[in-house]
Symmetry: C2
Subunit: 848 residues, 2 copies
Amino acid sequence: MKLATFKDFTTITSTASLLVAQHGGRAKCLQRLVRMGLPVPRTVALSFEAVTGISAGRMPDVARLLSTFGTTPLVSVRPSSEDPDWGGPGAVLNIGMNNARHAAMIDSHGAAAANALYLRFIRTYAVQVAHLDDALFDPAADPSADSVATALRGFEAETEQPFPQNPEVQLAGVLRSMARAWFSTSARLLRQARGAPVEAGLGLVVQEMALGVGPDESGSGVMQFVNPQTGQPKITGRYLSQSQGRDALTDRAGAIYLTRDPRGPSLEQVCPEVFDQLVGYGDLCRQRLRDEMQLEFTIQAGQLSILDAVKVQRSAAASVRIVIALCQDGIISRTDALLRVAPRALSELLHPQVDPTVPGIIVTRAIAASPGAAVGTLVFSSTRAQAMAAHGETCILAKRETTPDDVRGMHAAAGILTERGGMSSHAAVIARGLGVPCVVGASELRIDRRAGTIESASGHIFREGDVITLDGSSGAVLAGAMPMLHPALDESFETFLSWADDVRDIGIRVNADTPEDAQIGHRFAADGIGLCRTEHMFFAEERLTVMREMIFADTPTDRDAALARLLPMQRTDFKRIFRIMAGKPVCIRLFDPPLHEFLPHDREGILELAEALSRPVSDVQRRIDALAEFNPMLGLRGVRLGLTLPEIYDMQARAIFEAALEVSEDGATVVPEIMIPLVSACREVEIVKGRIDAIAAAVQAERGAPVTYRLGVMVETPRAALIAGKLAAHCSFLSFGTNDLTQMTYGLSRDDAGRFMGSYVRQGVFSEDPFHVLDRDGVGELLLIGAQRGRSARPDLALSICGEHGGNSDSIAFCRDAGFDYVSCSPFRVPQARLATAQLALISAHRD
Amino acid sequence: MKLATFKDFTTITSTASLLVAQHGGRAKCLQRLVRMGLPVPRTVALSFEAVTGISAGRMPDVARLLSTFGTTPLVSVRPSSEDPDWGGPGAVLNIGMNNARHAAMIDSHGAAAANALYLRFIRTYAVQVAHLDDALFDPAADPSADSVATALRGFEAETEQPFPQNPEVQLAGVLRSMARAWFSTSARLLRQARGAPVEAGLGLVVQEMALGVGPDESGSGVMQFVNPQTGQPKITGRYLSQSQGRDALTDRAGAIYLTRDPRGPSLEQVCPEVFDQLVGYGDLCRQRLRDEMQLEFTIQAGQLSILDAVKVQRSAAASVRIVIALCQDGIISRTDALLRVAPRALSELLHPQVDPTVPGIIVTRAIAASPGAAVGTLVFSSTRAQAMAAHGETCILAKRETTPDDVRGMHAAAGILTERGGMSSHAAVIARGLGVPCVVGASELRIDRRAGTIESASGHIFREGDVITLDGSSGAVLAGAMPMLHPALDESFETFLSWADDVRDIGIRVNADTPEDAQIGHRFAADGIGLCRTEHMFFAEERLTVMREMIFADTPTDRDAALARLLPMQRTDFKRIFRIMAGKPVCIRLFDPPLHEFLPHDREGILELAEALSRPVSDVQRRIDALAEFNPMLGLRGVRLGLTLPEIYDMQARAIFEAALEVSEDGATVVPEIMIPLVSACREVEIVKGRIDAIAAAVQAERGAPVTYRLGVMVETPRAALIAGKLAAHCSFLSFGTNDLTQMTYGLSRDDAGRFMGSYVRQGVFSEDPFHVLDRDGVGELLLIGAQRGRSARPDLALSICGEHGGNSDSIAFCRDAGFDYVSCSPFRVPQARLATAQLALISAHRD
């Protein structure tokens, strides 16, 4: 009894016991095909356990395995992991070929076919099993007897062993090499990067060869029934006579279309019965496997075999359209449809993509910081970017790093490229907020503003005015103008997200600083604005000037005068935003950044400012110096500025109240939410609340209409989280600003972290960039402490997060579990957040 | 029955029921004097409750009160609060004087005496009760009938009321004004600033006048029995014939010495019996009141009255010597002695003081950031300060603010003055660490480095080379060289602190970066070094050069070469420190600051560096730019640098181990403690531990002697506190770096906080500067979380704090309550920490 060995492999029949978690997805899928009655050649599945055993030197009874396939079989081996995305070793075909079989096949199938099969096997075996250099074997060699002899000699010369003739030895060699390849360090890291668990196993399927070569109509092909770009029904694929595997898809001459095509012959014409059979199988697969499948088939002397079926690779747009169609055809439920699309795929939908089929010159690959692609003229300063935009030209702004001074330029640019910084650098955060494609941390490039050049690692120089392409989804920077694929935001997208809204149970708001942002958020059906940062409103040219006058005011009177000029501008902004949001809640954060962000830092800018203010340069310089800070992140900003120069908050509160009243007169009642930034002590909230209440009373008296508002605290300091119970006594909502909270919890500036974050994540010091994925242990605990203390003090306290994490599925799950009311994210992340929350609701309903 | 009124005042007799908490300290002290049989004039005490009633308009039965003193009495009213430091209204004498009494006294005591008494009363009443301008009354006016008439007319002209003649009206007026003055906002704020509780009450004592004027020997004086500067026994004070109150102490002509004195007449000669009586009373007071008292006395026609006794105001040195003497004389216990001296007073002992008796020109008063006084030549750059020091000249370094570049200059300077910054600015922190007197935040001054001038608010210009005096204990900046009082660190100081060590139950270590610091800490009997910051060792001229070579190294090999040169320097430092500490524990923090702190930032420095390194300036500039950070506090420093350039920690570990082995060979075994800074993730500790273990093994193998060490984590980020349980698995101690932890918990940079901290504390937003007094709510909670989680995971985990808070009594109390093993503080704070911990132990023993 060889029981131990017997357990190692299982012949795939409709009744065999096979599990994806034990034998992998390919084995399971093949069993389904068998059950459906498709002509699948005899197949044996090796379990994860068996393959792990092989990698450790415990080879199953190969002779017994081979005997399953009769005498002198030819077989293939293919990987079968739990998830095809986790990679795996390549297929090996024609195992069993040897000199004797070769000689026999020359007779039965002809010399060309026999030589081709043997040659293919010798090469594959040499490279994958014996680890010889692929270059030893001429891929263009004729399938002649000479070529076979040369290959065999080459193998022997390199390995000092004759090419193995025993099929059992061949199969054992293939199984061992595949098992070891799976457990190699590089494969392990690769699949873990794609989300595989550490202990992910590999199954293997050993299948009798359907040869695809030989007499009569023989060949192989691949067929699918949707357009992988659009998801629209369409039969695509290729067929190639006298071929094996996926040869038809490579650029080999002779591959033909499947359906009738004016450009050439087609399978439909050549083998109409086989074509009809394939179409029928395709339909059956869609019905029974409940997805769009790609079939790999072989014709052997006119007989059709289905070797494999895999899910069709698809674009984001296609994935949405496919699940909608499946759902509408009654094949899958809405729940299935919603769970099948990765939320991240939706963001792809919203940005143009570089056409992946067109080869281009890649200048560098760096960090993909904000998705989408852009083609534009290279510029090196924000001023230049604005000038270009004013002339209707698209440009790519390249800087070593960006600063708040650059926000206007970034808005004007079609794409942003920086030499420094990581996912959380200023450039990356702002670009995502603006929805501008962005590549950061391109450390192989030398961006020299003064020289107006970018020098690539290879020494190529790009100059201002050169056109480049930026792919913020892949991190690639390409020379010249690459062709683009543009998003089709169609009905299916809207339908799909409306299904998501039907099931989700946590609010999604948008971070929108401007009417433009609000418009996008509203178009994406956000439940309101969760974070309206008011300071970005002051970077527009004419406002910046007034802002600077305010900063340079020597007396409160002068300051009030400048603020009085800013008031109507702010009021107009708020009115536009309130109107756009049409009664949905709008949460406005009071002025936050340090004042020095509004001042120029270069000689030129200082001269201009001195002129504009009619002050000596030394005066301007002195004020700039006086406002400079060692650690601006931890300096005089947020509510600290609000208490030091209270006139700013007074003005903002008035603008908010007046705007709310004026918009309410027209229609939907506006109850603005006002949020205080950077709180670290309870008294800060009390003092600001006192002043805002006074402004509210004054506006109410002046306008004769009731002024109402809700006050909240932005929890950004660890201390605010710890004292949340006390803060809750003074406000009706807390919104966790997870960007700053992460910075302070880690003692880590997002602007400076880029220099070592990559190395930290690679070394496993941080399992993820905490600015990208919410840190559950540290920041998360502070969120829970804050939430628990806040709600204990005030059960109806509204809770939310409004940092960059707001759009991340994992962070949303955390907030949902913690009982938060909503998350707020940048405009272009709203759709994916809507889907992610729907999925969470569905999964947790399923769990319960 | 006027029961309610009766309760309001109590005649002081030896059996009356008086409590400090109800009637104040003066009333209680007067009762003690009465009990001791001293000739105290009849006195009535008004309770806190009565005075609160008066302030609210409920006047007690003044007629009944006055009747206690017989017919037509003259009385005085003095404040009697719980603590004399809390301030209070000034005494009012001679209440009851009116035209009739004046006329009568001209007969009984003579015109001069009668006029003087009446004039004094009119003036005091006018100013304190009627709130007239003091300037209305000529203080130099002769005590003539004319002067009296003028004063009475003046009063009537201003108030449109005749001067009140009814003694009851007078007394009621005085009582009411004193009560109201106590409850005024300014008095309230003042006493709260001095530590009084919000509800602090005021008692009043009404005392029959012992006139001190009139026929025979009459007069008043003040006597004490120790030298208030040194605490040595010595009768001091003055007596003035025909005077009242404390007139003898003002500069009035005619005041005489008390004891025989070659410089002039003395009370001992003039009234030997009275003198002997006073000496006897003094001795009695010392025995019975258990402290050194100052007696206020009056002689009326040869008869001695004791009006009041208050504790002698004393210098820090005197306070120590006085309690030791009291203890040695068996008057008080050691516990009492230890509890009587304020810990903060000890730090005064360690620094020279500006002689307070010599008047000087005060240029400004700003924040007293590091105690002690210094006289020196004004310089405006660290380079200049070092040059001066090299020539043996003392200088005061004045800068707008200091940076890490200035540390060497600060070390060289005798005092530091900055225009910007608060108690926690770089200048303040470093100065306290160095024990250099320092005044910061002198915002009234304009320190202009380029011009080499300081401009005062009054427009006076000080130039480089001018001599100024800095008082870091009071915050005063004075023109010229002021005379100094130098500390006498004598036996009494040692004795006293040895008493403290006998009772304290928590360790006190010293923060010592250099052998010099270690020496001071050792002299002050610290229990070890709690924080040895290794980076300061690299700022010495020749080391800085090597350090910069290391930073500019292009390859690990070049970096290793530079580090190999630094190794023997570090080893030498560590050997010296280990030798000085003679077997006491030494906790060494691995390299912490960002590398850019070691690079020059001015044109001149960059040029020099380029020359030294033989590199183009553009190269140097580029490297400096590349290392620049937006928020250095939150950047690439601490363990992040340790993981990025691991060779630095390798070198330091080797230097520590080699030094420990070499010193151990000579005597006491050294088990170094190695601390990792800025940890925010567990894996950081694992990785560093792995490398240090490897170095330890290597050194052990090379030297053939066992290498042992203890590893610890410096908890500076909120996240480290939260994950303390996990960290404890990898180390044997946690030391909380409360400076950085406070910065991150509040999101507040200590270098930038100075600009609003003052206003924040004034507005009560923060009750105290959290960099000065540990924030119990936020930072404190993180300490408790960290301590609890750490100890749960590892019960023998050693816990400590090593931030600036280590020397603060309140913070020490917090750490003691939390079960910490020790606190670590700057060298000059060690004595006060030793006393503070002793007091905590005594108080808690008393409580239990």
